[in-house]
Point group: C2
Chain length 544, copies 2
């Protein structure tokens, strides 16, 4: 027997209408390419997003069509976030940091019909647009002058959408947004978000134990809007009617801190690299910035280290760790303490806060090791698997990737983790970066972190190399600091105090640099290929 | 084109499993009939709720069957809240304050198959059980001794449910709970909640601008669990893993304050009558109670007056006003200030805080007057209508009540309101209690409040009486304080300063008492019937 409640779909259209009705006076602030500030209200945002929806419809965009964006975090991007889904189409955020060939592949695979592009990113677009088939290129301009060739000015385009517009009656399961993962292996894979997933994720992310956002907050969307929906923050801010600040492409610590001060920011979400820059600047000039006493944030994208977290706390900025993936809209877990943990000794509380946290409501977790589901004992290793209403059930047009889901319907994150008795997840490594040695797993990340803490080491990578006896063994690759050297013997002696003998690298290789992906991550796949034929007999120190 | 996200239903089963996995150590505290405290953890709660689900299944309860409860707020009621829906059945909370005839009608109309009843309420059950057809009466006992006749002990019953139990695969639209409105007109009407509606309502109610509840909170569910789901709080507390305190039937101010102090309560939701009692006791003994500095709350059920709200604030207890109805699961609006209102003058802020508030996300509002949708100008009167995923679309088995929904699918609340330019709703009166005089509406509530503020008036009601010229005119009924008298002339002179002449009562009648409904509300329908034939010619002062 079904309940007798209204069949009211969870769509972004409701959020768009709501922000006009109740928060029309609240500001959206964007930093423009020339560093000047653009200000308007949610009433302006609403009018323009709706104009965009109407203009797209008139230009022949149909339900389910993909419209790409190639933009930094700016108000036109926010208009696209809502205006494109409001007409029933799908906003496809292209990652401006990818290689043009990848972008060409992605735009073509997604079959994007139109693209909205920031003027400053036109040179990038030129490099891949032949691979795609954009019926229209709509340019967000910041200067006067005539438009290049057949391109169309964003302002002219949305001007065509003035006047009344009736939204299509959207179902909550219809697609609203598309984002490709910038994985380090294989082709980029598209995650197709439904209206429902985005709405439910917004509710869960807004909870006190997740972000605790409220209408009174001033939210800075630092994480790029082309990267996992800027951690979902723009949707939450608009749903709550909170003031939203978009930093454009100015993501250096000085520009960000200036923005926080100027706009009285109370909340941001960023990757550790950005937090690290902010901490560096605050440590250098602790009294320079007059920040809101309420400034707090989420750290996601990769693990926020203890020193980073407590460094920021020294400057009065509490940061909560979150774990997520593009496939999770993107947040899965947040490391908020539980009530009774407040009484725990400092050391234990730190450990919890530095873990990836516990799942937000309606995300289920489990870890699967060699023997099936692992115990929640804080040390058994297994692959983290998740389920929930905002978890992808497949990639867009990628039937070959179905091995990423288990037969019983869980998403295989590719992360190896432990789960403790309180349900807190600690990610240990990517499964493909783990070293399988004699039936045991060795974490490359743990070794790398230890090596990077050794004097004169600039950067390090530890990768698995095939081994005739042990299946795989760890090989360490080290970049020394300029003009410095590291003794292999001394380094291994140092590591011996921290790891079991069988976990130590069997060889250390000094290199000039380490390969990186287009998003700046270590390109371990390339390293593994490069050292695949490493001869263990001839090389490496005897560690016995 | 649909998004590619998991088809993961929003059900209470997820919340039940979640509380075991992550919050098994958190306490649920209940006050028993003998005033002693019962404590157990969510791990215990989980185990017993699941046993109840299994025992019901084994006893022949099927998907969609109704299982009634007749209980105060206590842990077994919480077990029923989750255990009954977890086996696919519907928990039907019977209001212990209703007249036995009403209860008989309701239980029979709902076709309740089983009933779980508190031992202390057995005498009430005896009065109506012949009208219903309970296949089994399960008694929650507090004393030793043998069980009456064929009744079954709750503990014995759930003991039959030990061991593994596989939940049925529930869809989110399946019914989870049933609650009848105790309206003052017509037959009681059943509202059938889906799992989806309860889950979405829980998310929206948990938001910072609604209740702002977090796992660290200690939530006292003061509003009865048989009355509009105790304002939805038990579901939110379990979803977040917050400590939950259930006061049993001990709702007097002393017992409640003692409980708040003992359990370090941080949050409660209650009707104004209960808040008034709390304020009275605090005013009398301001230093007696050592309350948590974080204690805050929601006031719902009817309007929290300004003096009550600011009286509580003087004792350090901020209260936010909420408006809801059984038909809304139950919360629709909450009167949280917006960021920029914090800068407003005190007077204006008070007005906003004393309104019924702005809708929580995914609730839509409008007011319909004689000329259609009213302007949001703060003074145009219209009937409040609402839509949203947790708003009823019809009553249970009541096709005759379909006029409560508009043809375009909005629920007619029966409340007359204004909406201001910020979207804040102020409820003026029930539509049936408004007086339609010469094409204009007069609010009976405004007049009553004014009359009740006059010296020597104990209680007052203002009702519409048919009038040959004006359609209806207001008649005031007054109970004077013991041994005191009120001069009609003086009273009308006093009112003249506060209302337009045409809004004043045309007659004043002094009575010994005013009729009340079983839930203690003014029984205006009865008064209107009683004075229907009032002769305006012969009576009443000339007010010209």
């Amino acid at each position: 027997m079904d309940g007798l409640m209204m069949d009211y779909p969870l769509t972004l259209v409701h959020i768009l209408e709501r922000v006009r009705e109740f928060f029309g006076r609240v500001e959206v602030v964007s930093r423009l390419p020339d560093r000047s500030m653009h200000r308007y209200t949610y009433a302006d945002f609403y009018r323009r997003a709706k104009q965009l929806a109407k203009a797209l419809t008139h230009a022949g965009i149909h339900r389910g069509d993909r419209v790409a964006t190639l933009m930094w975090n700016q108000y036109q991007h926010l208009e696209a976030y809502f205006g494109i889904p409001a007409c029933g189409a799908v906003v496809h955020t292209l990652n401006v940091r990818l290689h043009p060939d990848e972008l060409g592949y992605i735009a073509s695979h997604a079959n994007d019909r139109f693209i909205i592009v920031d003027e400053g990113l036109l040179p990038l677009l030129e490099k891949f647009k032949v691979q795609a088939s954009f019926g229209r290129v709509i340019v967000v301009r910041h200067r006067q002058g005539s438009m290049i060739g057949s391109y169309c000015d964003y302002e002219d385009f949305i001007a065509l959408g003035k006047g009344d517009f009736s939204y299509p009656q959207l179902g909550e399961n219809e697609a609203a947004a598309l984002c490709f993962t910038s994985g380090t292996t294989g082709k980029p894979k598209g995650v197709l978000y439904s209206h429902r997933a985005i709405v439910l994720h917004s509710f869960a992310l807004a909870l006190a134990d997740s972000s605790g956002l409220a209408q009174r907050d001033v939210v800075v969307a630092v994480a790029p809007m082309f990267h996992a929906n800027s951690h979902g923050l723009p949707y939450v801010a608009v749903m709550l009617g909170a003031k939203l600040v978009l930093p454009g492409s100015h993501l250096d610590p000085d520009s960000l801190l200036e923005l926080f001060e100027l706009e009285k920011a109370t909340f941001l979400s960023a990757v550790p690299t950005v937090w690290l820059g902010i901490l560096g600047e605050l440590d250098k000039n602790p009294t320079r910035w007059n920040l809101s006493g309420d400034l707090r944030g989420l750290g996601g994208g990769s693990a926020v280290s203890e020193s980073l977290m407590f460094g920021l706390e020294r400057h009065g900025i509490p940061v909560v760790q979150a774990w997520g993936m593009t496939e999770l809209t993107p947040v899965g877990t947040v490391s908020s303490l539980k009530s009774y943990m407040e009484e725990w000794p400092e050391e234990q509380r730190r450990k919890v806060r530095c873990s990836q946290g516990r799942p937000i409501p309606f995300v289920e977790i489990r870890a699967i090791g060699a023997e099936g589901e692992t115990a929640w004992d804080g040390h058994s290793l297994g692959e983290l698997q998740v389920r929930g209403p905002w978890v992808a059930r497949s990639y867009y047009n990628m039937p070959d990737e179905s091995q990423r889901w288990t037969v019983d319907g869980w998403f295989r994150t590719g992360d190896v983790c432990t789960i403790d008795s309180e349900g807190f997840v600690t990610i240990v490594d990517r499964i493909k970066d783990m070293i399988k040695s004699g039936g045991e797993w060795i974490s490359s990340v743990d070794l790398e972190n230890a090596v990077m803490g050794y004097p004169n080491v600039q950067e390090a990578a530890v990768v698995a190399v095939p081994h005739p006896t042990w299946t795989e063994r760890p090989l360490a690759l080290i970049v020394c600091k300029d003009g410095e050297a590291v003794s292999t013997e001394d380094l291994l002696r140092y590591l011996r105090g921290r790891f079991s003998k069988w976990q130590l690298p069997d060889a250390v290789v000094f290199v000039k640099e380490l390969p990186k992906t287009s998003t700046g991550k270590l390109f371990k796949k390339k390293l593994r290929e490069q050292y695949r034929t490493w001869n263990w007999e001839k090389s490496g120190p005897d560690i016995n």
